[in-house]
Amino acid sequence: MPQKIDEILDLVLQEIEKGKSIEDCLKDYPQFVTELEPLLHLALAIRELPKPQPSSEAISRSLVKISETKERTTQLVPFQPAWVRIAAVILLVVLIGWSTLALSKSSVPGDVLYPIKIMSEKTQYALTLNPKRKALFHLRFADKRTEELALCLKRKNRIDKNLLNTMLNEARTALKFAEPIDRESDFLKAVQGVNQKQLAVLCEIMKCGCCREDVLAALKLCYEREYCIQYRANPKLKEEYNPYYEAWNRSCNW
């Protein structure tokens, strides 16, 4: 049996709904009769109030207003099935991703979009299994880092040591993946192209007055590589004295 008065009131109301009289219901709760009886009479009186019926004119007026609103809303927001909305969201995501990638292509170390550029390169690389294609990727990365080095010099007038090392390492890794290299191959010509580009950028850096030790070492390495590539392309050169050959072998694991 409930003890709280609000619960007793509710219970008695339910009994009355079932057809019991107020007096019968309150017999079980003599201590609450004084308080509950007038409340129950009031509740019954409220229930007996007439249920209002809306006028048909008012409903018609309302429906006319709604019909106007409905037309406006339908014109403004036409119904779109779920697949259209999903396709729109996918398209939007692809567009945002594509434009971010496009914008990140011209970024250099220190830029906000640079990590996205590197991440995209790493993803492409990870999806490649063929060693020859991996070698091409490393060569392309070496080329990109060379361009970034030139851009850094132009935009920020400073040389990033990590970028310089990465540029040289990518070229070396490219050669490592490409072994054995045919001396007539286009790959060797491509390596030579990238190496000459690196040489040109390093010379440009030197001209700007940046004669740091690491830049000088990089320049020396690129000259050694150039000589070695030439030897690869033409083995007769081995007969001549080659002071750089040993060093090159050590540095690039050829």
């Binding site: 409220i46 007439p50 209002p52 207003k65």
Partner: protein, 191 residues
């Protein structure tokens, strides 16, 4: 909620109502018209005792329906709880606007008081309206839903987003407050 609950009277079963809402959300003319008529009856009955004039109740019901049509597409969850919440907020806004405009003048209140020739029912209706206006919004909502619209405690709890226990407490306090107000009014009238 009971299968043939009083919520779904007006000859509309829960399944029919769910289908009606789904079709109306796609702005299918006939479905939206039927839903509007169904909601009109419900909300008019709800607003009728919460404001002083029948015209106000009609205007508010119309306003609730317009709001419903505008945001029907984004509606989720219990439809009736949603529509009654809109109705309750519209009534609160109505009183707020009136308070700002200070429209509740002594003259307007005098007009609401029926003359001796008016039937006993209308007198009770107006007394009820004034008494409800003196309750808190929650108390007025519980009295209207429980005793004027015949919803069960569970249904009222769903509509108001409260527990059944809380509804019982509000119901008791509301009836007590009403009794005290009406007693004071009767005393004032007699003296």
């Amino acid at each position: 909620m009971k299968a043939n609950s009083s919520i779904f009277n007006n000859d509309t079963s829960p399944d029919e109502l769910a289908k009606l809402i789904k079709d109306a959300k796609r702005y299918r003319g006939e479905a939206l018209n039927r839903l509007c008529k169904f909601v009109y009856n419900k909300i008019f009955g709800y607003t009728y005792y919460r404001v002083q004039q029948r015209e106000d109740a009609e205007d508010l019901t119309s306003e609730v329906l317009l709001k419903m049509v505008r945001s029907l597409k984004t509606q989720h969850g219990n439809f009736l709880a949603w529509i009654y919440r809109i109705a309750n907020n519209t009534i609160i806004d109505f009183y707020r606007r009136r308070a700002k405009r200070s429209e509740i003048s002594i003259e307007s209140l005098k007009q609401d008081i029926p003359s001796a020739e008016v039937s006993r029912d209308i007198l009770t209706e107006n007394k009820m309206r004034k008494a409800l206006a003196h309750l808190t919004p929650d108390q007025a909502q519980v009295i209207t839903l429980r005793f004027l619209q015949d919803y069960t405690n569970q249904e009222v709890a769903q509509i108001m987003g409260k527990t059944v226990g809380a509804v019982k407490v509000i119901q008791y306090r509301a009836l007590k407050a009403l009794k005290e107000y009406l007693a004071k009014e009767d005393y004032a009238t007699k003296n």
